[in-house]
């Protein structure tokens, strides 16, 4: 049996599952000390299920805690950055595009050294170990031990980053080092930014993950626990302490993965209706389609593979105006259960209109019986129009696809969606995110530029696939269960010689404890 937990900004959801069956679920308020909310949610689902803590095989936790730390500028460790690429890159040193307050907090201690590679694997300049040693001394003398190391085209060749890490460790034995090649893709500033943020967050990650462990110990849960990553796969507790940035944006991913699981569909559109917004995403082979554009975290540009979601201001708490007709984007949000008419409040919300329409029986239906039938019909039509347009925007072709509706505000979906082959509202839709955490697998990625002048296309693809698979195994996947879920080839413009960027993602089931 597994427990999935999703720690959101407002609620902490938990679900206890036996194989594919949901045994019990709960929603509790998120607490300032994240572990307390988790402990409460865990003890509730265990008590409700009546099982022994010893019967639990794994606990999977999705959390926005580390994203929030960057956004709120809290608990960040001062971090130095070493970049290998001289004489290139000089005019844009590390952290050049960070907001000033965040750069000041992190220390802005950056160093450039020789090394780095070209897109085709040639060296930009000879690597100079003594130069790196001198930089490491300066970092040590500045009293820093959190360090990020980047190198130009390290996704193509990471040896200089690795060699530099060894040198730094000789001088700073307890150094906390993040290599950019371990977490990011092509795009030096973005990848380096992610590496720096990762080192910044490691102390917090160690404390937080230890807090999770303590909460589990208290409940006498001895099973291993895992943390969700932004691509919908899991990392074990030790890995999460090493790579906290990989948790960024895991919330929407978990919700979509949960929708895939609950519906049994691998290719579909997911509509997650909350209290204030509706997020629409696309499932491809059971995983969220990822965004192509750079993603900002707390004002810093990164190139994480975030789920490609489109949000509209529509939710259960959306305010309704009748003349002219308007639904959202303003919302009563988490105060729905006080302010909506059916809950004895005095504000007309989308939930009130749905209750008046008779499709749901929530709160006091008498409080909305006076609503004009034509208004109710018009609002319902407008809601479906908003969802239809948003769904259409996210589709990849005109072919009708299934639409899965999840989230607490799912009652808003009362009609047909044009372009949907069917609309599915699975059981347990309000806790799809916690279910997504509970059922997650582990994965690995390869993103490199290959020169097809030297390799055939098939050889390059095979090489990329085996790299991605090896990374999945290193992350804890059972080698026999590995599956390649995504292959993308991008020929590079303006370049003769058939340079092609190949991105491959592999996933597999967790090795059982």
């Amino acid at each position: 049996m597994r427990i999935g937990v999703d720690v959101g900004g407002t609620n902490t959801d938990a679900v206890l599952m036996d194989g594919a069956n949901v045994i019990s679920s709960t929603k509790t308020p998120t607490t300032a000390n994240v572990s307390e909310g988790i402990a409460k949610a865990l003890s509730t689902v265990i008590a409700d299920s009546g099982i022994e803590a010893a019967a639990i095989d794994g606990v999977m936790i999705g959390t926005t805690h580390f994203t929030n730390a960057v956004v709120e500028r809290k608990h960040l460790t001062p971090t130095a950055c070493i970049r290998l690429g001289l004489p290139a890159t000089v005019c844009l040193p590390p952290m050049v595009d960070w907001p000033d307050d965040l750069r000041d907090m992190v220390g802005g201690n950056s160093h450039l050294a020789h090394g780095g590679h070209e897109f085709d694997g040639r060296e930009i300049s000879a690597y100079q170990p003594d130069e790196v040693r001198e930089i490491a001394r300066k970092i040590r003398d500045a009293g820093l031990s959190a360090i990020a190391i980047s190198s130009v085209f390290s996704p193509v060749n990471s040896t200089f980053e690795e060699q530099s890490a060894e040198i730094v460790r000789e001088l700073i034995p307890d150094a906390n080092i993040t290599l950019s090649s371990e977490i990011g893709r092509i795009g030096l500033l973005e990848r380096e930014n992610a590496a720096i943020m990762n080192s910044c967050l490691r102390q917090l990650a160690a404390r937080t993950v230890d807090g999770f462990k303590a909460a589990l110990d208290e409940l006498q849960i001895t099973a291993p626990f895992y943390i969700s990553q932004n691509d919908g796969t899991l990392m074990n507790a030790d890995f999460a302490k090493e790579y906290p940035v990989l948790t960024f944006a895991s919330g929407p991913t978990n919700s979509m993965r949960g929708a895939a699981f609950l519906s049994g569909l691998r290719d579909a559109i997911v509509v997650d209706v909350g209290g204030t917004t509706t997020d629409i995403g696309v499932l491809q082979h059971g995983f969220p389609r990822v965004a192509a554009l750079a993603v900002d975290i707390g004002g810093v540009r990164t190139n994480f593979r975030m789920p490609d979601t489109y949000s509209i201001g529509l939710g259960g708490g959306s305010l309704i105006e009748s003349d002219p007709l308007k639904v959202g984007p303003r919302s009563v949000g988490y105060e729905l259960t006080e302010k909506a008419l059916v809950f004895g409040g005095d504000i007309l919300t989308a939930t009130d209109v749905i209750v008046a329409g008779g499709s749901e029986d929530i709160g006091d239906a008498g409080a909305v019986s006076h609503l004009d039938a034509s208004l109710v019909a018009a609002v319902q039509a407008r809601i479906m129009e908003m969802i239809t347009i948003a769904v259409d925007r996210m589709k990849t072709s005109a072919t009708p696809v299934p639409v899965i509706v999840v989230g607490g505000g799912s009652i808003l979906v009362t009609g047909a969606i044009e372009g949907a082959s069917e609309i599915i509202k699975p059981d347990h839709f309000p806790v799809a995110n916690a279910i997504g955490a509970a059922i997650a697998q582990v994965g690995g990625e390869c993103d490199r530029i290959f020169s097809l002048a030297e390799l055939s296309r098939d050889e390059a693809l095979d090489q990329a696939k085996s790299e991605a698979s090896n990374r999945a195994v290193n992350a804890g996947a059972n080698a026999d269960s590995i599956e390649i879920v995504d292959v993308e080839e991008v020929p590079l413009a303006y370049l003769p010689g058939n340079a092609t960027r190949i991105m491959v993602k592999a996933i597999g089931d967790l090795v059982e404890a």
């Binding site: 690429g85 004489p87 290139a88 890159t89 000089v90 005019c91 844009l92 050049v96 595009d97 780095g116 070209e118 897109f119 085709d120 040639r122 930009i124 300049s125 130009v152 085209f153 092509i186 795009g187 030096l188 500033l189 973005e190 192509a292 554009l293 259409d392 925007r393 996210m394 589709k395 990849t396 072709s397 005109a398 020929p491 590079l492 413009a493 303006y494 370049l495 003769p496 010689g497 340079a499 960027r501």
Partner: protein, 361 residues
């Protein structure tokens, strides 16, 4: 003369993306370079051609290579300066200032970096009024200004100098040399006197890019329609509002080519648009009829934010507005038109200026 500060650079970058008509490279790296140089060396003096002496020598600066490489192997900075100075040495004359070779995309902003570091004037003009993929595709070529002498430098310190028999030969040689430099080279070319530029250059294009950027920013702030704001700022025509229904991409001769289909919405319900691109947007056909072609400018904008969409980012389901606006009048002279005629790009169609197609409607 006026000064360019950080805020001006933000607006220029956004406007340059509109003038990039889907190509020209993401201005982000160029924007950061210009911004950092201005922070370090102070604001840049932007001169109009009329404020300079006819004999002054102006040397444009730019980058060439693969856009994907420049986001990874960030420029050294010295490479740009080195190419610029090498050209001055070869010409035997000290350049008075620098300028953009193309007003669209990354290369619109890169010269601000050179101007800031060398504390020399940036001139408010360019050689295209837009972006094009090849070196010889400039108004300068049509006016007999040579791309040679041509200097290209890499971060290592290599400098290549070329003297060729035509501007097309510069393109041919430089395109293969740049691969050896790691698909990224900083270049200086098309040196010309202010007198030559007064005739051949497209005037005021940095200011135009800045105005477009400021317009979009203000429209967003006022929650007004940014698409309409862009259209007015460039004196253009709204060709279409629609949803992308299909995108087909292919690689031909090293270029990203392809087309996108759109189905009309609102006033355009029932119409279909076909957009062709080769790095930049090249031609628009609505219900099978040409509605705009190169050298006029075609911009695809996000229908809500007014953000210009590059050819790489076109995707099924996006809701977009397509606007077209007249190219600089110099492109319509026979010698220039030949360089960027729809037929050069493979369309068997006469060039009809977009405002003639849309006059009165």
């Amino acid at each position: 003369m006026r000064l360019l500060y950080e805020e001006n650079i933000e607006d220029i970058a956004l406007g340059a993306a509109v003038l990039g008509t889907g190509g020209g490279g993401d201005p982000y790296v160029g924007k950061l370079m210009a911004r950092e140089a201005v922070r370090q060396y102070g604001p840049v003096e932007l001169y109009s051609l009329d404020e300079l002496d006819d004999d002054d020598l102006i040397v444009p600066s730019a980058g060439m290579g693969a856009p994907i490489v420049i986001v990874e192997k960030l420029p050294a900075g010295d490479d740009m300066i080195r190419a610029f100075k090498a050209l001055g040495r070869y010409s035997g004359r000290e350049p008075r200032g620098t300028m953009s070779i193309e007003a669209g995309g990354l290369n619109s902003i890169m010269p601000i970096y050179v101007a800031a570091r060398l504390r020399i004037p940036m001139v408010d003009c360019d050689g295209m009024g837009r972006a094009f993929p090849e070196i010889q595709m400039t108004i300068f070529t049509a006016h007999g200004i040579t791309a040679s002498p041509f200097a290209m430098s890499d971060e290592r310190g290599n400098v290549l100098l070329m003297d060729t028999v035509s501007n097309k030969w510069v393109e041919t040689f430089a395109r293969s040399c740049v691969v050896h430099m790691g698909a990224e080279g900083m270049i200086a070319l098309y040196s010309a006197t202010v007198k030559q530029l007064k005739e051949a250059a497209i005037h005021g294009t940095i200011t135009l890019a800045e105005e477009i950027g400021a317009t979009v920013r203000n429209a967003r702030r006022a929650e007004a329609n940014p698409v309409d704001a862009v259209r007015k700022a460039v004196g253009g025509f709204l060709l279409f509002r629609g949803k992308i229904t299909d995108v087909d991409r292919r690689i031909e001769g090293g270029w990203n080519r392809g087309d996108a289909r759109m189905a009309g919405i609102d006033d355009f319900e029932g119409s279909e648009l076909l957009l062709d691109f080769q790095n930049e947007h090249l031609a628009v056909r609505i219900n099978g009829e040409f509605a705009a072609t190169v050298p006029d400018l075609i911009a695809v904008l996000d229908s809500e934010t007014g953000e210009p969409i590059t050819t790489e980012a076109l995707r099924y389901g996006m809701r977009v507005a397509v606007i077209a606006f007249p190219c600089a009048p110099q492109w319509r002279e026979p010698a220039a038109l030949e360089l960027a005629h729809p037929r050069y790009f493979g369309y068997d169609v006469d060039y009809v200026p977009v405002e003639e197609r849309y006059r009165g409607g």
